[in-house]
Symmetry: C2
Subunit: 286 residues, 2 copies
């Protein structure tokens, strides 16, 4: 499908995010079907969809949530805001808002928390924002309970190969940005094993930047699905599950204390359900 | 014991907090002993103590933690800072810091998360802070999974009776303050069923204010212990446990997003273990 077919970039990008959401949901539901029955009586999961409305202007989106037998909780949220307004507190931090407090945006955001502590949790987000400037942002990062170096390398290598097709500086820059962004400062501890994070990717070459954003989504889906299939049928121990729950406690700390998406959402009157969809289904603290 | 026996108010108040900590730990360990054996092989809990040092000056304290069979996780933290310094960010918000950024403080803070969803979680804190001004602050609030009106009334009535001995305005003022403070703003939902919250209680009559602070601690201990004993041996359902875990997710949200103690601690370089002792042992999100 060709997405650059109208004069309205917002609707072009928004169409891509909807298609990506459909591909992701389909693939994750297939994984639920393929899973060797380990939870007798537990049927393969499927996504449930709710819509949500943006209260502060025009727009809204979808929350797609699956509580399955492989995916303990996976949320895929899409949003398209055709007429948004920044609060004064946020506006100061956003480029292109000197003359106007309005914005348009669309995005997709995904967090998966898995039953098996051997399958890493994952986060992916890509977005397109228009003020008097316009730019893409996003990224993907892997959050295992305990690091498996093979997974880390596979995840990073796939992202690097894809990034290199566009710009040799992308991967090193976006990897460092990810490490910096996902540091749990008060513990001086990384949230996971990283990935890429980018923002303010201007649209001087719209087609290229849009293609890159599409490839982030596609690479994420291909890479993460392979990691899930590799580990999902392995046995795990109680001890490994404990480690996973503690790691999820750290994940919750990061999201509530530092995550810009959470703060952006709460400050801009976003939908609480959509914002908190990233929270782990169960987490523990020592 | 008479606590006003020296010219050093900080050490007098600090002595009381240590004694209160000892009384609480003793009482909670008795409750662990009295509990009818419901977890075969699970021995009554007892407190484990670690010390912690304040890195930004002189001072430190104790973390007392018990993971028992009634108390799933209870932390009692005491601290005495004899030479502290506020960061610029914090200093602006603290009275009596116009000329000096130094402070002295002592305090006790307690959070209990219980195995049984029929026994409410609880939070209590009292503190004494000296800048160029000096004041007491603190409070106690009850956090049941599902409200039990008898417990709510018993908790509030005991606090009200005690408050009324000092000032008829205390209870209504401190109750409202508590309701306001423990509101989870983004959900417009109270964290629990309230109690009292007070701050900047000046020491124009030191003895009276110190006595009041002692009575907050004593009333908390007497009242909460009675509530625990009333419910701890009752059967609960899986459904009630689920409700408790979700309620704890809300508790975690409040602490990480709004709690002044958490923010104060993280911003002032406090001890991460001491700050996060309030987090639930296990929590869930839908």
């Amino acid at each position: 499908m060709i997405y650059i077919n109208s004069k309205n970039r917002l609707s072009d990008v928004s169409d891509w995010f909807k298609d990506l959401k459909n591909s992701i949901c389909k693939e994750f539901e297939s994984i639920e079907q393929e899973f060797a029955e380990k939870y007798p009586g537990k049927a393969p999961g499927s996504f449930k969809t709710r819509t949500w409305n943006y209260d502060q202007g025009s727009g809204g989106g979808e929350i797609n949530l699956m509580n399955g037998r492989v995916f303990e909780k996976v949320g895929v949220v899409i949003s398209t805001i055709t007429d948004g307004k920044f609060t004064p507190e946020l506006r100061d931090k956003i480029p292109g808002t000197e003359n106007k407090d309005g914005f348009q945006s669309c995005g997709i955001s995904l967090v998966a928390h898995m039953h098996s502590p051997l399958v890493p949790a994952v986060h992916m987000n890509t977005r397109f924002i228009k003020t008097e400037k316009e730019w893409f942002g996003g990224g993907a990062d892997l959050n295992p309970a305990e690091e498996n170096p093979d997974d880390t390398n596979f995840f990073h290598n796939n992202l690097k190969e894809m990034c290199d097709l566009y710009d040799k500086n992308y991967y090193p820059k976006f990897k460092s940005w990810c490490d910096e962004y996902f540091l749990i400062k008060h513990r001086n501890e990384p949230r996971g094993v990283g990935g890429i994070f980018y923002d303010y990717l201007d649209t001087s070459n719209f087609e290229k930047k849009f293609n890159f954003t599409q490839d982030v989504g596609k690479t994420f889906l291909k890479t993460y699905s392979a990691i899930v299939r590799k580990h999902m049928n392995k046995q795990w121990t109680e001890e490994q599950k404990k480690v996973q729950l503690l790691k999820r406690g750290r994940y919750a700390e990061f999201n509530l204390l530092y995550d810009r998406g959470t703060k952006f959402g709460l400050l801009s009157g976003g939908n609480t359900d959509a914002i908190f969809i990233s929270m782990p289904p169960m987490a523990s603290w020592e």
